[in-house]
Subunit: 416 residues, 2 copies
C-alpha cells in the first residue's frame, strides 16, 4: 500500500478529547477516528489489525467445530420479553420504528439464536453443535470512557453451544477455554482465566482477563499459582490468602477480553427449545455462551504493545509486515536514484507476498517519516536514502540497532 495514495490520518499531537492511552495512540497513529464518545471508525490501518484479530479468532472457532453465522442487529421486543430482559437488561438500546413497533439493538444474541436453532433441533441426534458470529454489538452505557475498552458500539465474537446434558456442556466449556488460551497466546497476550459470578445454573463463570493499568475490572489474583477471581465476588473484608496455595493475593486492574458462561437451560426454557432423548422424552437443550471482545482486544493490544515513540505490533497482528520508507534529500539526481531504488524494493517485496506499507511521499522530510513510522509500529522498518547506497537500512521496531542489508536478508528475515 502506497502512502502517497492513502489519506494521511496520522497526527502530530495526541488528541485532546481522549483520556485513555489506547484511544490517544490509536487516534494519533491513524488507526481509528472518534465519531463520538463510545463509537469509533476503523481507518485503513486499524481495520487491517481488526481483521487479523478476527481471523485468529475465526480459525480457532472453526477448529472447535463451530459454524459461523451472522444474525441481525435489530430484534423484536417480544423475544426480549420472553426472557424478561426487555426490562432487566439496563444497557439495552431500544428503537421505536415508524409503525410503533419496538426493537432492541443486540448487545448479545441468546434471544435470537435460540428461536433460530429451534428449526434444527428435534432429537438428541441433532446435538451437540455450536454456532458463532463476529458482529457489531450495542450497549447503552451510561459512562463510556477508556477508548476501545468500553463503547456504545463494539465488535464481538459470540459463540453459542447446544447440548443434550450438562456433562457434554462441561466438556465443551473446557474445550472453548483451551481454544481461548490459544487465541490470546497467538495475540501475544498473557490472559488469566478468572472466576466470576455464574448465575443460577453454575456457581462460577470465567472471564479471561489481561492485566493493564487502565483495565475496567479489579481482579484478585495469586501470582504463585495463577488462581484468580473477580473482585466483585469478594465481600469488602475478604481476600487475604490464596484459597488454592495459601500465598498472598494481589489486586490489580485488568480488562476482560473474553468470557465463558454456562447458561444451562436458563434461556432454552423460556423459548421451549427442546429435544427428544433416546427414550422419546422431551428435554430442554443445555446451552453455553462464550464471548471475545474483538475491538476491545485492539485497545488492550495498544495498551500492552507500545513504547514512548508509539505502537509496537506483534507481527501476527501488525497492519503490515514491513514499512518501506524512501527518504529524499535536496539533490534531484540522488533523489531520482533513491526513488527508483525504493520502487524496485517495493515491487520485489510485494511480488514476494510481503505485506508492505510504502512511504513513497515526496513532500515529507526524513524526520517526519521516521516519527510516523515509529507511531504506526510496523515490526520492520526499511529505509532507502542517500546514506544507504545500494543497500537498504533495516531496523526492527523493538530494537535500536540499524544495519545495511540487501534484499535477500530482508526476505529471509520475514520468512523466518
Amino acid at each position: 500500500m502506497r502512502q502517497s495514495q492513502l489519506p494521511n490520518f496520522v497526527r502530530k499531537e495526541f488528541p485532546k478529547d481522549e483520556e485513555s492511552y489506547n484511544a490517544k495512540i490509536l487516534v494519533r497513529a491513524g488507526f481509528i477516528d472518534k465519531l463520538m464518545a463510545g463509537a469509533y471508525s476503523y481507518l485503513p490501518l486499524g481495520l487491517r489489525v481488526l481483521e487479523k484479530i478476527e481471523n485468529i479468532v475465526k480459525e480457532e472457532m472453526n477448529a472447535l467445530g463451530a459454524f459461523e453465522i451472522r444474525m441481525p442487529v435489530l430484534s423484536p421486543k417480544e423475544n426480549w420479553e420472553k426472557t424478561g430482559r426487555w426490562k432487566s437488561f439496563d444497557a439495552l438500546f431500544k428503537v421505536i420504528a415508524r409503525d410503533k413497533k419496538e426493537y432492541a439493538l443486540g448487545p448479545t444474541h441468546e434471544e435470537i439464536i435460540i428461536p433460530l436453532s429451534q428449526r434444527a433441533v428435534f432429537s438428541y441426534k441433532d446435538l451437540p453443535f455450536s454456532l458463532y458470529q463476529i458482529q457489531t454489538k450495542f450497549r447503552d452505557e451510561a459512562r463510556v470512557k477508556s477508548g476501545l475498552l468500553r463503547g456504545k458500539e463494539f465488535l464481538m465474537k459470540d459463540l453459542y453451544s447446544f447440548h443434550a446434558d450438562a456433562k457434554d456442556l462441561d466438556h465443551f466449556y473446557e474445550k472453548v477455554s483451551r481454544a481461548y488460551f490459544g487465541i490470546f497466546k497467538k495475540l501475544g497476550l498473557d490472559a488469566w482465566r478468572v472466576e466470576a459470578s455464574g448465575g443460577t445454573f453454575s456457581k462460577y463463570s470465567h472471564e479471561f482477563q489481561v492485566f493493564i493499568e487502565d483495565g475496567e475490572d479489579e481482579v484478585v489474583c495469586c501470582p504463585h499459582c495463577r488462581f484468580a477471581r473477580n473482585k466483585e465476588m469478594f465481600s469488602s473484608k475478604q481476600t487475604g490468602n490464596c484459597p488454592v496455595c495459601k500465598s498472598s493475593l494481589e489486586v490489580a486492574q485488568a480488562s476482560e477480553v473474553g468470557n465463558v458462561f454456562k447458561l444451562g437451560t436458563n434461556y432454552s426454557g423460556p423459548f421451549s427449545l427442546k429435544y427428544r432423548d433416546k427414550n422419546g422424552q422431551e428435554k430442554n437443550v443445555v446451552m453455553g455462551c462464550y464471548g471475545i471482545g474483538i475491538s476491545r482486544l485492539m485497545g488492550v493490544l495498544a495498551e500492552v504493545f507500545h513504547d514512548k515513540d508509539g505502537l509496537l505490533w506483534p507481527s501476527s497482528l501488525a497492519p503490515f509486515q514491513a514499512h518501506l520508507l524512501s527518504v529524499f534529500g535536496s539533490d534531484a539526481a540522488v533523489n531520482k536514484k533513491i526513488g527508483k531504488q525504493a520502487e524496485e524494493a517495493y515491487k520485489k517485496l510485494a511480488a514476494a507476498g510481503v505485506e508492505v506499507l510504502f512511504d513513497d511521499r515526496k513532500n515529507k522530510t526524513a524526520g517526519e517519516k521516521l516519527v510516523e513510522s515509529d507511531l504506526i509500529g510496523i515490526p520492520v522498518r526499511l529505509v532507502v536514502s542517500q546514506k544507504t547506497g545500494d543497500k537498504i537500512e533495516f531496523k526492527e521496531r523493538s530494537k535500536e540497532k540499524t544495519q545495511l542489508v540487501d534484499f535477500s536478508f530482508i526476505k529471509n528475515y520475514l520468512d523466518r
Copy 2:
C-alpha cells in the same frame, strides 16, 4: 464441511410466511432464517455466499485504489441536522439513549465520512482519494417485502470519493461504473446502467439494475441499444421510442443492485470540507458516492439462478465447489465400504484445496440427500453408493447427465 456436524436448516417445504421466491428458496435451502419482516440471519451456507460476494466487490474496490474502512452504525443527531436529513430522510431509524441523546442508525454514511475525512484534507495535494466500507445499513421501511430485496437491515458496500474538481469526479465516476460492470459480470449477472434522477449537482445519477420479475423498480429500456432510464423519470404520458436509437422502448421490473451518484459539494458544503488549491484559495471538496447492495445481490442471484428443484449457484459464488454424498443401503458390509470410500474422497478433495460439503449423514435416505443437494445447488454433485463401485458418480447441477468417474477426472474438472 461435514453435514453430520452441521445443524440441518434445510426444510421439506417452502416457508408459509414468505411471498418472494428468493426468501422462499433461501429459507427452505437453509441459507437464511427470518427473524422478522425485513431482517434475516445468514446461516453457515448463506454466510459463505455472502462473503464470496463481499470478496468480489472488495477486489474491485481495491483495484480502483479505494481504501477499506469501517464506520459506526450509531451516529449523533447533530451530524444529520447539519445536512437537514434528520428531518428529511423518511426512513431514518432514530434511537434515544438513556442520557436522552439521540442517534441515527446509519442508512448511508455521508454524515460520518465527511467529518472523518476532514482530518486528512488540507491542500489539493491531499486529493483525490476514496474510502469504502462493507457494513450493515438500516432503513425504517414502512413496507418490507421481497425477502432480501428490501429489508429494515441489509448489507451494503458504500464507497465515497473526494476530488478537487468536477472533472476529476467525472473521471472517477466512469471508472467506478466500469468496475461495477466487472463486478456484476463476475457474479454472472447482466446488469444495465440506468439513468435515474441526479439531484442538484448532476442531471442524472445511474442505477445498476438487473431485470427480474420480483424487482422493486420499473425500468424503461431499449433492448436494441441498451439505453435505460428509471420509469420514475418519465411522466405518465411519455416513454414511446428510444431517445438514442428510436427503437421502441419496453418497460420491465428490475432490482437495483448498485448506484453511482455525483454529490458534488452538496454534503461537503454543510460540513465545510474544504481544501486549498494551487493558488491558496479555499474550495469545497467535490464528492461522489457509490453503493452496492451485498445482501440484496444474494436475493437477486437466487431469483436468477434456480430451477424447479432449487438453487443453481455459479461456481464463483457457490458456498462450496463440490457436494459429496455417501448414499447408504441396507447391507451393513456394503455400507461400511461406501463410508470408507466416501471418507477417502472427502479427504483427497480437501487436501487438494477443494471447498467440499460432505453429506456423511447415516440417517438420511438417498432420496432425502439428493433432494437436499438439488435445493442447495452446489455446481458439482459427487455420489458414492453401492451402484458406483470403485468410481464416483459425477453430475453437474445444471445438467441431467451423470457419469462414473475417478478422482483425477473430478480434480481436472474443478481446476479447469
